[in-house]
Amino acid sequence: MVGARLQALQYITGALLVVLVAWHLAMRIPELRGLQSFTETLLPQVVYGEYTSYGALLLLLALAALFHGVNGLRIILLELHHGPIWDKLVNAAAVLAFLAMAAVAVHSVLYVPPP
C-alpha cells in the first residue's frame, strides 16, 4: 500500500516537474529575461531576484525533484538486490538523503543574502 502511494507520488511529482523544470530552464534563456547572454542570467543580482520573487516556487521545485530523484534511486537499488536488511537500509538511506537535502534547499531559499 505504501509502495503504491509512493509510485503514485512518483508520477504526480514527475508531471509537476515537467512544468517546473521547463520554467526553471526558461529562466536561463537570455531573450526571455531581456539579457544578452546565458552567463548574465546567472549573475547574483538576477538569481537573488528569482529567490525573492519566486522562492516558494523554487522550493516546490527542489522538494518535488528531491522526492522524485531519491525515490527513483531507491526503486533502482531495491530492484538490483533483495533482502530484508538491504530493503531497510535502502529505505532508511532514502529518507535520510531526502531530509538532509531538503533541509539544505529550505536553508538556501530562506537565508540567501543580498549580493
Binding site: G69, I76, M101, S108
Partner: protein, 157 residues
C-alpha cells in the same frame, strides 16, 4: 560449469552492467528498451546532478557571500570541464523530461495503446509498432534538437 552458471546469472540479472554494456543492452530493433535504459541512466545522472546543484546554489546562504558562486557561474559560459559536465547533465534532464512526458501520455492517458486484439504472428508488441514506436522516435528527435539548441545558447551566443 561455474562459468556457465555465472554467465546465465549475468544474462538474467545483469545489474547496472546492462545500462552500459552494449552486449547486454539488447536494443537492436527494440527502441522501447533503448528508451527505458536511457530513462534509467539519465535518471541516475539527474539525481546526482540535483544533489550537486542544490549544494552549489546553497553556497551564498551557507557562506554569506556570492563570490564562490559567481566564480563557478562564470565558468559555465565557456567550454571547460565544468561546463561540459553541466551540458551533459542538462542533456540528461531534457531526455528524462521528454521521455517522462511520453510515459505519462502512454501509461496514464493510454495514448496509442489501441484495442485488445488476438495475437497473430509475427508477435510484435503494440509498444513496438505503430503510434507508440513513432512516439519514441519523436521524443528522441525532440531531445536531440533541444539539447543542440541548449548548446547554442550556452556556448555559441
Amino acid at each position: 560449469m561455474a562459468g556457465r552458471i555465472r554467465a546465465r546469472l549475468l544474462n538474467n540479472r545483469p545489474g547496472p552492467r546492462a545500462w552500459i554494456d552494449p552486449w547486454l543492452l539488447r536494443i537492436r530493433g527494440n527502441p522501447e528498451r533503448l528508451a527505458f535504459m536511457l530513462h534509467r541512466l539519465t535518471g541516475v545522472i539527474v539525481s546526482f546532478f540535483l544533489f550537486f546543484h542544490i549544494l552549489t546554489v546553497s553556497r551564498p546562504a551557507r557562506e554569506g557571500s556570492w563570490e564562490a558562486y559567481l566564480e563557478e557561474a562564470l565558468r559555465l559560459g565557456e567550454p571547460n570541464i565544468t561546463s561540459i559536465l553541466f551540458y551533459i547533465a542538462m542533456g540528461a534532464v531534457l531526455y528524462h523530461g521528454i521521455n517522462g512526458v511520453r510515459l505519462i501520455l502512454v501509461e496514464a492517458l493510454a495514448l496509442g495503446i489501441g484495442r485488445p486484439e488476438k495475437p497473430k504472428p509475427p508477435y510484435i508488441a503494440p509498444s513496438l509498432r505503430g503510434f507508440q514506436r513513432l512516439l519514441i522516435y519523436a521524443s528522441i528527435a525532440l531531445w536531440l534538437v533541444l539539447w543542440a539548441l541548449l548548446g547554442y545558447v550556452m556556448f555559441l551566443r
